[in-house]
Amino acid sequence: MLTFLFKRTLYALISLLVITLIVFSLSHLSGNPLDALLPDDATPQQIEQVTRHLGLDRPIWVQYLTFLQNAAMGDFGDSLKWKGQTAAEVVWERLPATLQLGGLALLISIVVALPLGVMAAVYKNTALDAVATVIALLGQSLPAFWLGLVLMWIFAVMLGWFPTSGYGGLSHMILPAVAMAWFQVAALTRLTRSAMLEVLDAEYIKLARVKGVRERRVVWKHAFRNAAIVPVTYFGVLAGSLLTGSVVIETVFNWPGTGWLAITAIQGRDFPVVQTVVLFFAVLFLLANLIVDILYALIDPRIRNT
């Protein structure tokens, strides 16, 4: 178990190192921060001055090593766009907003998709199953930004139930979180349903039934825990998709999180912030997958004991 986790962590760290290299080279290929920072009428002197000020005149590998060394210490440089803040601060400040929204979306996905998938499997080929299938298919068939806008128009503008956009409490979060979660609900419902179908055919389910376990307990205690491996595996992917989804949804709903930040930073060619966001995303993703590995072991003693 410990070796397993150790190996996983080591892999994650190696991946991270490669990711830093990719991120660094990409962001430096992607143009000069001057392009966005300077006004349309910048003079040659002004350009030169700002270049020197940003340290962009040094060789690229020196910039990378400096970056790596500093990054290891948690220093990703100063933001070029948000003056007076380090890139880490800029990202750190927006992170809660993304985590709140992503967390709620994750919660919605789980709270909706798991029961829906389980019930669809238990009541296979019934109306409930059909409804679950439709929800699942619709979610995977609509671009999130469009769904977001439609939700905004219906529930904020026409019905006035929620605020249209912006950062705020729960009421602000519901529409974007639903828009973000829908695709995940779809994927997760399908996965849960098929995993449950498989498990419900198992002999130990039959044994649980014949020993007199109540049906609800058969489903949730005996079947679900075994089927859970599949949705849990998906959580790793889910974490990544939610972060990526945040880029689009945060833009539509004007939610000041890291996804919105990433777009703004790329448009502004703010390397340090772009790098930090991508690395944050990658670290979160790798962490989520480590957690998935741990969850695996918790759920399934066969993994735990090997």
Partner: protein, 328 residues
Amino acid sequence: MTKNDPILCVKNLRTELALSSGAIEVVRGVSFSVNKGETLGIVGESGSGKSMTALSIMRVLPRPIGRIAGGSIRLDGRDLVQLTESEMTRIRGREIGMILQDPHTSLNPVYTIGNQVIEALQINQQRGGLLEKAISLLKKVNVADAARRVHAFPHQMSGGMKQRVVGAISIAGAPKVIIADEPTTALDVTIQLQYLELLEQIQQETGTAIVFITHDLGIVARLCHRLVVMYAGRIVEEGTVDDVFNAPSHPYTVALLNSVPHVDRKVDRLYAIKGNPPALHEIGTGCSFAPRCPLADTRCKTVSPPTVPGKNHGQGHFAACWKTGEMA
């Protein structure tokens, strides 16, 4: 408690599976009864409907396709077919227990042995000191080192051990009837014997009735008092072990017995009988065994056979055959 009180009485049971190609009847009017403290064997090839009969009694047919289409299953006088699902849940485990075929898959891999035994105890209203009770139950089914094993997971145990645990679970509620669906098929031969001994021991201690489903006539001979032989969803012969073995009164039973040269050897398939059991949706009006039967004539193929007394007219020995009289 007298031996001749029927505790479980199945009458004219019919069970259907709704497949996409249409509903088929897999149990076609089965009747038998089991007395207190008795062991009844149900013998047949795979597909003969013996497991479906067991699942019908437990009312755990595959969902959503399986359903009981008719008949009654009286346990101690109550018709299980008429019970609601929640009433049935209270019957399972407490009044009828069941042991499944494959111990490797019938225990839940993610819970400890103790957890699964204790759950069975809880279902049967046991409270307090559950761990100790679980350990003593495990001891009862001869699980060595039960105090430690109670914390083990199924994958850490051998098949024989697991099947003992399943046995322990099935007797946790001291049921009146235990249905054992080929419980030893997946076990090694030596372990099989030990397990059968265990079942006998349990029966002696608790006086429970056992319905033992198997295709292994050797086991039947060893363990059962009476047996029914099933073919294509019907009972073709019924009687005491002695009567049936000594005077088989249905050509199918004869073929079965012939395919087992040594009573102690189990066989998986009845190679000695030519042909295969019929697909259930292809069954015609006559005797289902007719296509494979060496004695069959036109009547056999067209008219359903009557139930007639066995050859030696032993008590409770019947066969469903036109030709019983003609058999040597």
